[in-house]
């Protein structure tokens, strides 16, 4: 932990001295194309979001230099985290990343990466994605009580839950269900939330904990339905699905959809990106996207975002320990 403190102290010192030297001089602007790293593969949720952000930046001409998306999905985001951690010189101010909750979990599970997410530069939390528990319409299950009964009727490991990879958000939520309701649901990892949605709609798994955006198409077609959501309040799109809180288990879980900068980014550059994403946040395109995807979570930046990371980081540490991953 002393290393982290030193890094923090050092980066704070650097930021301070940079601020003193630069003073209130002319606003910072990118000097070369911005490396816009995506911590996931092409076509996934993070990728779609990054490309939407890029199109908004383009459309309103918010940057004199282009944002160039680069997908680095390797090792559950490990590759992307290491890439940001290793930036040097000019690249430090020109490398930002779209991130998810693997931002916390990947460094915990792969300590040899020597990445501390809390050292990354907080730029913007653009939204928090929500989760619901989904079943196929043909299962006849409509409530959590019926769900629990149906899972138990299948016997140990007979009920299949599709999710997006081991120790992912979906896995943590499955663990919550198993623990809270004393169930033995078997977790099957798929590649990407879309694949999970398809597996549920095709009857290859019995339930999923998809994001609303991933299951929305099949929900509108009447193939799948949400029986409860992991949010503090009901989601507008699904007024009939109660929250777990209402059902007596005060449990909510979100996935951050944030933009972070490389560790040690200069304060001026950070300020510039923060302003830019604040503008994007209030654009019609982003507001519309948030509404369609049932995204929640207010805009967070700077200190506020860092505080949020601290809380979430501790929480994920605890959750991973519970499932024996670390």
């Amino acid at each position: 932990m002393t290393i982290n403190k030193t890094v923090l102290a050092a980066s704070a010192a650097v930021a301070l001295s940079a601020a003193l030297v630069a003073g209130p001089a002319a606003a910072w602007e990118p000097k070369k194309p911005v490396d816009f790293v995506i911590m996931a593969g092409k076509g996934g949720g993070a990728d779609k979001m990054a490309r939407l952000l890029q199109s908004v930046i383009d459309k309103y001409d918010l940057s004199s230099k282009p944002f160039v998306p680069v997908n680095k999905p390797g090792g559950s985001g490990a590759e992307a985290l290491v890439h940001l951690n290793k930036t040097k010189g000019l690249a430090k101010d020109h490398t930002i990343m779209v991130t998810l909750n693997s931002f916390y979990t990947t460094p915990m599970r792969q300590p040899n990466l020597k990445v501390d997410p809390l050292t990354f530069t907080p730029i913007a939390r653009m939204a928090e994605d929500t989760f619901c528990l989904w079943v196929h319409k043909d299962s006849g299950v409509k409530t959590v009580d019926e769900y629990v009964a149906a899972v138990k009727a299948k016997g140990d490991g007979g009920w299949l839950m599709g999710g997006t990879g081991k120790a992912s958000e979906d896995n943590l939520l499955t663990n919550f269900l198993n623990r809270t309701y004393d169930l033995k649901i078997k977790y099957i990892p798929f590649k990407g939330g879309g694949g999970v949605a398809k597996a549920l709609a095709g009857g290859n798994v019995h339930s999923s904990v998809n994001n609303p955006s991933e299951a929305l198409g099949f929900y509108e077609a009447g193939t799948v339905l949400p029986i409860a959501c992991f949010t503090p309040e009901r989601i507008g799109l699904f007024p009939d699905a109660p929250t777990f809180k209402e059902l007596g288990n005060d449990y909510s879980y979100f996935m951050q959809r944030s933009v972070v900068g490389a560790p040690g980014m200069s304060a001026e550059a950070a300020k510039w990106y923060q302003n830019l994403f604040q503008t994007v946040f209030t654009s019609d395109e982003w507001i519309d996207y948030r509404k369609k995807k049932a995204l929640q979570g207010e805009y967070l930046t700077g200190k506020g975002l860092q505080e949020y990371w601290k809380v979430e980081n501790d929480r994920h540490m605890k959750m991973l320990k519970e499932i024996g991953e670390i």
Partner: protein, 499 residues
């Protein structure tokens, strides 16, 4: 008849002057994007997406669809002319396309590729038009056991390659499988085989790095050796008469093209597969069904026709799950889906009802894109042929640079360029020792799909392999695969005993 009405409306949309222009510009651009090693339709579409979202959704998707299509045609060009696959989907085209060009039949190979692409594209877009909803239901039922059965079938077709030495084929497949395992274990989420903790291995070994290494770098080394420094230019001429003669010759491959088209289409509609596996499987099947399988790899025109028909058919096929299920059938459609989200469309089971203009406009544009890709492609053949007249001393550095660009582009990591050189040297040595290289390429493409689906299936069944036999679709495919695997093995051991 209702479908026909929708399609006519779709043509009304696609033939508006602006959309029509989009198609023509799109296919021409796509042709070059496909022909440029390392660019390919995935990157081409990803790069253009943020710009194109400024135009209305229907015109935009028509443009991107046309690029996707054009790139499928274009990928074959550098495979044939330079021996470097222009895009992942054109790897199988290298196997026989390049030998044809070496024999001075480059024009014939190009005509075959373009015509087969046209056949594949047309058949699949007709299938798409007529059977989209029921096919979507089939794709939906396809779970991990069915996917694994299909992968098994693909490997079986490659083992069952008559003339090749079976132990050597196995060895080549094993190398491909090991390389495909590098990176992330998708089921446990742990990194694995990241040699020396080099972070470049975390994203795995991109199979284009392997393919470009073996075929591009390997080709240069091979040419240098066989020519002993004095490289003679490939004999290449082109004339209308020769093109017509090529077309005539192609009639003999009509069944191969039909097989490739149907196979490609069905593989394309299955989420997660896409055009690359489709074209490799079509190549394998064409070879094992042929009377003279040993002529494959030596410049058999069917070895060009099969994968090219299949990759175009698959690219249309992969739009089906994209539009009907909201799930990409290939990496490029994954990006297109992203575009649809930016346009504010909700791809999924209800898209056909809520946005008929968009869906049918796109489908109609595919007919047009397909036709114009053929025309543009044939028109450019003389220009492509002239590339071959370039002296090797000039061509070799160009190929070398294209290889480096192609190896670097997918991941933008120098690590992959070094790896590509290594594969080039190793591939060259293996070729000298008479190891078939195509099975290694197949294995690295299909390895991750096969592994994931097998492990998912076994998780579902608590470890019992019976799951591959007690689901009807999976059972049928598994049995066929086992028979295909067993036949050449029996033959091989029989031959061994008698000799």
């Amino acid at each position: 008849m209702e479908t026909l009405g929708h399609l006519m409306d779709g043509f009304g949309v696609a033939l508006s002057w602006f959309n029509f222009l989009m198609v023509i510009v799109g296919v021409t651009l796509g042709l070059f994007i496909g022909a440029m090693p390392g660019l390919g339709s995935v990157n081409g579409v990803a790069i253009l997406l943020p710009m194109i979202v400024q135009v209305p959704a229907t015109s935009g998707i028509i443009f991107l669809g046309a690029i996707y299509y054009g790139a499928m045609y274009g990928g074959a060009i550098s495979s044939i002319m330079l021996g470097i696959p222009g895009a992942s989907t054109a790897v199988a085209t290298t196997f026989d396309g390049r030998p044809m060009a070496r024999k001075g039949l480059a024009d014939q190979a190009l005509v075959a590729a373009a015509s087969a692409s046209f056949v594949g594209g047309t058949i699949s877009v007709v299938l798409f038009t007529m059977f989209a909803p029921p096919l979507a239901a089939v794709a939906l039922k396809f779970g991990p056991p069915e996917e694994f059965a299909l992968m098994l079938l693909a490997f079986a077709t490659f083992i069952g390659l008559g003339g090749d030495d079976i132990p050597k084929t196995f060895f080549s497949i094993a190398i491909g499988l090991v390389l495909s395992a590098v990176g992330l274990d998708i089921v446990s989420g742990e990194p694995r085989l990241t040699f020396f903790d080099i972070s470049g291995f975390l994203h795995g070994v991109n199979f284009l790095v392997l393919a470009i290494g073996i075929y591009g770098i390997g080709e240069i080394l091979w040419t240098l050796e066989t020519s002993g420094g004095k490289v003679e230019m490939s004999q290449a001429t082109v004339s209308v008469k020769r093109i017509l003669a090529s077309l005539k010759k192609l009639i003999g491959s009509i069944w191969t093209m039909l097989m490739g088209s149907f196979l490609g289409f069905f593989v394309g509609i299955l989420p997660a597969a896409g055009a690359t596996p489709g074209s490799l499987m079509a190549y394998g099947l064409a070879k094992s069904l042929d009377k003279n399988p040993e002529t494959f790899g030596e410049g058999n025109i069917k070895g060009v026709a099969a994968p090219e028909a299949a990759n175009n058919a698959a690219s249309t096929g992969s739009m089906l799950p994209m539009l009907t299920l909201g799930i990409p059938g290939s990496p490029t459609t994954a990006i297109l889906l992203g575009g649809m989200v930016i346009w504010g469309l909700e791809p999924g089971p209800r898209l056909f009802e809520t946005e008929p203009q968009f869906v049918w406009g796109l489908i109609a544009s595919l007919y047009i894109a397909n036709f114009f890709s053929l025309v543009v492609n044939i028109a450019f053949i003389p220009a492509f042929i002239s590339v071959l007249k370039t002296p090797f001393t000039i061509l070799a550095p160009i190929i070398f640079i294209l290889c480096v660009v192609g190896g670097y582009a997918p991941t933008q990591d120098m690590h992959d360029v070094w790896l590509m050189f290594l594969f080039g040297v190793v591939g060259y040595l293996m070729r000298k020792l008479d190891y078939p290289m195509a099975p290694a390429v197949l294995a690295i493409v299909l390895g991750p799909l096969a592994e994931t689906s097998m492990r998912q299936s076994l998780l579902m069944s608590s470890g019992s392999p019976a799951i591959f036999f007690n689901r009807p679709i999976a059972a049928a495919i598994t049995v066929i695969a086992i028979i295909l695997l067993a036949l050449p093995l029996i033959k091989f051991f029989k031959n061994k005993r008698t000799s």
